[in-house]
Assembly symmetry: C5
Homo-oligomer: 366 residues x 5
Amino acid sequence: MAARKNTKVTPVIRRKRLSAKATIGQVPGAPVYVGSKADSDLYIEVFDYDKESLQEKRISEIEDTYGFIASEPITWININGLSHIHEIEKIGKQYKLHPLVIEDIVNTQQRPKMEEFENYLFVVLKMLHMDKDKGLIIEHVSFILGKNYVISFQEAEGDVFDSVRNRLRTSKGVIRSMTADYLLYALMDGIVDYYFYLLDEFGNRIEGLEDQLFETEVNNDISAEIQSLKREILRIRRAVSPLREIVSRIEKSGHPNLSEKITLYLSDLQDHIIQVSESIEIYREMTWSLMDMYMTTISNKMNTIMKVLTIIATIFIPLTFIAGIYGMNFEYIPELQYQNGYFVLLGVMLVIFLVMLLYFRSKKWL
Amino acid sequence: MAARKNTKVTPVIRRKRLSAKATIGQVPGAPVYVGSKADSDLYIEVFDYDKESLQEKRISEIEDTYGFIASEPITWININGLSHIHEIEKIGKQYKLHPLVIEDIVNTQQRPKMEEFENYLFVVLKMLHMDKDKGLIIEHVSFILGKNYVISFQEAEGDVFDSVRNRLRTSKGVIRSMTADYLLYALMDGIVDYYFYLLDEFGNRIEGLEDQLFETEVNNDISAEIQSLKREILRIRRAVSPLREIVSRIEKSGHPNLSEKITLYLSDLQDHIIQVSESIEIYREMTWSLMDMYMTTISNKMNTIMKVLTIIATIFIPLTFIAGIYGMNFEYIPELQYQNGYFVLLGVMLVIFLVMLLYFRSKKWL
Amino acid sequence: MAARKNTKVTPVIRRKRLSAKATIGQVPGAPVYVGSKADSDLYIEVFDYDKESLQEKRISEIEDTYGFIASEPITWININGLSHIHEIEKIGKQYKLHPLVIEDIVNTQQRPKMEEFENYLFVVLKMLHMDKDKGLIIEHVSFILGKNYVISFQEAEGDVFDSVRNRLRTSKGVIRSMTADYLLYALMDGIVDYYFYLLDEFGNRIEGLEDQLFETEVNNDISAEIQSLKREILRIRRAVSPLREIVSRIEKSGHPNLSEKITLYLSDLQDHIIQVSESIEIYREMTWSLMDMYMTTISNKMNTIMKVLTIIATIFIPLTFIAGIYGMNFEYIPELQYQNGYFVLLGVMLVIFLVMLLYFRSKKWL
Amino acid sequence: MAARKNTKVTPVIRRKRLSAKATIGQVPGAPVYVGSKADSDLYIEVFDYDKESLQEKRISEIEDTYGFIASEPITWININGLSHIHEIEKIGKQYKLHPLVIEDIVNTQQRPKMEEFENYLFVVLKMLHMDKDKGLIIEHVSFILGKNYVISFQEAEGDVFDSVRNRLRTSKGVIRSMTADYLLYALMDGIVDYYFYLLDEFGNRIEGLEDQLFETEVNNDISAEIQSLKREILRIRRAVSPLREIVSRIEKSGHPNLSEKITLYLSDLQDHIIQVSESIEIYREMTWSLMDMYMTTISNKMNTIMKVLTIIATIFIPLTFIAGIYGMNFEYIPELQYQNGYFVLLGVMLVIFLVMLLYFRSKKWL
Amino acid sequence: MAARKNTKVTPVIRRKRLSAKATIGQVPGAPVYVGSKADSDLYIEVFDYDKESLQEKRISEIEDTYGFIASEPITWININGLSHIHEIEKIGKQYKLHPLVIEDIVNTQQRPKMEEFENYLFVVLKMLHMDKDKGLIIEHVSFILGKNYVISFQEAEGDVFDSVRNRLRTSKGVIRSMTADYLLYALMDGIVDYYFYLLDEFGNRIEGLEDQLFETEVNNDISAEIQSLKREILRIRRAVSPLREIVSRIEKSGHPNLSEKITLYLSDLQDHIIQVSESIEIYREMTWSLMDMYMTTISNKMNTIMKVLTIIATIFIPLTFIAGIYGMNFEYIPELQYQNGYFVLLGVMLVIFLVMLLYFRSKKWL
């Protein structure tokens, strides 16, 4: 069982390592996709909206997106499929993105960051979700915030932005009447909201392990599971820890693409990020404690085992010795000739047995 | 018993997690009540006072409070029942509170914070108390400090503000002759004062566990209790740790609703908060040490058990061997034919027994 | 024995907790004495001196001190007995001390701090000493530094200021020719000097415990003592840690009651405080290490016990088995009929015994 | 096996220590080579290039390099063989390097640093690689960035710059059309890229040890390997930790040899360095956890051993006692005379045996 | 053996404590020698040099040194014997040193520091060396840097300045052509260089302990040695940690006695200090790890012991039971009457024995 848990985690780790190796010796600025979803299709989604109208489209050619951004209303272009490097480079040329930005968009190893350019803001985040089979999945997401558009890049289809889509479609909340920076905020908020959900999962797993520890007759080794928990928490922390600075730098950047109204929303997001970070620290300490508790449990079990052995041995070894005495072949052992010697001895043994039991009971070993 | 302790803590944790999940995908700024007291009545309390007069009322309609604040004297409106979102939104509209403020007032997951607006200060705190059945309860409290009023929001009836109420009623201390910012200070001070009481409880529990550890014949596993202590201390720390910065930011804000006199009181409050934080750290270290001591206790018990086994086995195994020798059926064993062979042998065994006892006594095992 | 150690520490802790509870719900600024020396007499000591003359008096009425301060020479008024709140409030009124200052003077829970007012500096420190019976005593001491006077407040008679008194009396050193700020420095220096003495005591206790650990046949559980050491070090750290900032703030305050010459003396004091803090950290690490060493000692003892058991069992169990073989009642066991079978067997057993001994010796178990 | 691992690490450590001793008492600023490759040949490599042309040469006399740097195009001089101090001092004189710079170039103990001079930037880094036989090798590399040249100094031939060489030769990427500062960046990037590869190796080793821990019947002591892992991670951290500040200081220096375009590339490098640092911390925590897991594994094995002993002893000791009873020689033991006494007793023993087995099964010991 | 190690360390510690006590209640600014070398002779060494000439003298009267400093060339006066307080006070009067400076010169408890005065810089350092018998010796060294002189104060003869002396005598390096601040730098560099040597010693001891841990049949308790290592590392860290700030404060002070050229040398020294600090941290972590490894070793030994016991008991207890069966005195036990019953049984026992052996081998216990 320990082994199974272990392999559950392995693929993610292994992928990361192989990929890191793959970029060694590359020209800096040459985009290379190092993620695990190289076989996913390119899939482009466009939302073009203002207060009154909304246009939603799925298209498959990068070139078809150019018109939307040129037009007046706010545009969200969501590009899935980072392995299609040529298409992404086209976007880069069209909007004059720096080569290093293109490299960071497709490099799934890139840690979260924020960079200001003259015409756009560039933000890299990590989208976390829990896969039943593959364990913790960390997906690389990048955003370009232009004057009146947001372009998002994801490794593959499937994300945590459905709530944003629904709000756009139903015109719920203020999103349709706000500028593009609010859209960026809404998307980032969607990602951070999902962190809460993920941490709940961790809370459940930690509680589950605790419950296992307190079940009396457990046999299996849960240290592999605790170790895998530790590792995943370390990885989440790594994905979340740069966020605080990123959001605060966006707040302070004073970039022309950011409206004044957004500040309050960003500091609200900041609050959530701090809350997530604190939860991570708490779960981390709890996971570390689990190992201590497990050690305690093992020691307690050892004590129980030793008690059983000690009780049995302490009672029967002296009795066996007495039996041994009267099994000796001395010619003259007077007790052996008494009529009721045998029964008297059995009685004596019974008394010794009972005294021993009382002794162990008084010591609370029984 | 371990299991009971565990469930004692669980509900609070579980509630938190479920609630966090509940807000995922919500419009940012849309108020959702996520606490555990959704069924509590709306209950509004009004104190309208100046140096000469005091008016105290319980009302149930939000609209009835508008007049008090418009009037000259200082007004404290205490609103209980965060699940009544519509009523709270009414207040928000009346006093032009930002939608995100309303969201933070009802979102019991919101961590403590302080925000300045043009016309009011917004402060979020956590009120802690210990419930016999449910363990540590963390209640969400928000304050709006206006020109001549304070509005406080609580999840449900029942709080730690009775001392403030009494001082208002009896005109004890300076409270009645001070401005609204002093009222805010007095309420915050009431909350922080209660932290001291709570930490006393923790001190008692830690001492109780220590006493259990040093009782000689304990049998039960207290690691679950230590783990639950750890977790609660982590949660308290999370509630208390942002306070220091909040109070210092209020001090430095220079907001027009704050009088000059309040600074000294706020730095007094700051002192108390630092004291609370230090106590938390000390109790935390003591709790961590408890686990070490528990491990030591287990090992010591193991040593005791092993000593009993070793003493018994070491004394009787050689004696049994000797008895076995004379139980052999060799045709010619000269000792067996001696008249007093049996008694001599018993004597020899007794000597061996006594020598062994002396040996163990000299080793301080007995 | 463990229990005795425990109770030795308890009273101090318990007092603290009870007292904290006692102030809950009090008007902020209302002085309440929460210390453990409520029954001590009020005792006032006055030193009135300049370069040429010295007047030393014991008086019992607060009002009698007013004249000394009004007069030209430097005055030190040392007030013992914080439970006499009314008398202290009188002083407060006479010298226009802020109500919160009076509260801090009598609140023995107040952590060390320094506050500047227009006419005086207010400093709170902790005087530590070790009581044979009650363990570590933390006494609350406050100072008011006025233009030409210092007023000190202590919980009860008995302090660490005798060296200052002697220097005043014998005119040793520069103290008599310096201003009142030097007197404050000398008193604070006296307190800090005593910390060194106290840390020596801790060094002795830690060394004592280490010596106990390395004595070979110890039986008693010293984890209670280590735990109590840990707790006391945490409490001392709490008393000492704010001092660094306090002294540096006095240095930088530029308050008119501070002369220019005092800076060098204060930075000398600062040096001592840093030295104390470093010693505390070192003793803390050593105490934590003690627990590790204790665990090691327990494990080593367990190993010794197990070795004894294993040696005895491994030697005699096989021999007993052989004896059992020849105790069987088969009709035809040829060895039993040999003339010297018995003696040959005894010889074989002796050889087995010696081989076993050599084996254990080669494994360094003997 | 533990011993082998140990010695594998030792030479590197020992060399470092011996070398440190070797410089004691030296004139500060007197260059002394303290590395382990004193016998390596001097080997100089020159790349002289601009957008259109590339000249690549291997030369062996320092003097031959002077012409390249004087000429217009960008020049990279790569000097291998730090033990040839006289040659390096010649370079120092030719380009007016400060004596302390020369000392730092040859002192392989020098930690990474960056220093600005009027005409050049001086950067010291550590090149890490893993040697099959000698374990982790830390090689000392220095760079001089002049107006239109970069001089690199290495301990011996063999480095991680092949990708830079290839890009120069094939004119791949922008390197040939950029200034000398880009070359410096490309070389530093090459070194940092290799850190990723190295950390992958560590990931593999940690995973290998984890797998060993979870194999059921392992016997060997892996604590030596864990300890050696710990030590190597500490050494890598020491080599990597100053990099962050170095790169940020280069970025901010505004040195005339740095073009404006380079900033973006340097902050990209900075990103990679942060990523490396975070990986180091994660591997560090995982290595520390390994020790905990190993302790757990040992304890679990002990439990298994004790269970076997306890089961055997608990079953057979009572049975042996019963057999002992009927081996006694009392004249009157009625059971002995029953026709089927023997078979009845064997049955009773079988029942006891089976009850015991069921008991252990119910306790999940079997 | 543990005891011996312990006492080896004790004298240093004890001396420190006693001495700290000795100054309690002293007038601040009254010089008291608290070191352990109160009986060492006063011994004064003078170097008076410029680029062309060098005069070296040993003198025994303080007054004889006045002339050297008054003269033009640079003078180094090295005073050994801090217990000769009157002589040192004479120097203090001659060069107008502040009384607190004199106190710090003779107070060997003073931590490293740097203070600026109008006419001189005052620096306190700790000279560390390892004594075969007394363990780690920390010697107190102070420097006064005047316009054209350096005065150094040491507890007793014997130091780490021989390399400086030799460079002065042989005119090797730039020392003779530099100003007095370079001399101070050279002396400080000599002290820091020796730290490297000392840390090498620690590396050797740590490696030695590791080797002991991996030797298979060790018996002795090395926890006392690890603890003493820990304590010494803590003490070294305390001596070294303030150095970084001291050197950086000298660099930034802009004191007239410091020439501009010295900056580069001081930042080189700073580099070395950082390197020393990092080594200390690494050795510290390695020492802490040693304790973990020791615990692991103990547990592994316990496992080995338990295996021996379990194997012996598991094999022979069942066999002994079988022998017991056939030792019973039932009248009718059919097997006993078979002709070859005895031999058949011996065969059966041999089979059981071999099966057991195979079982343990398959479990890798043998």
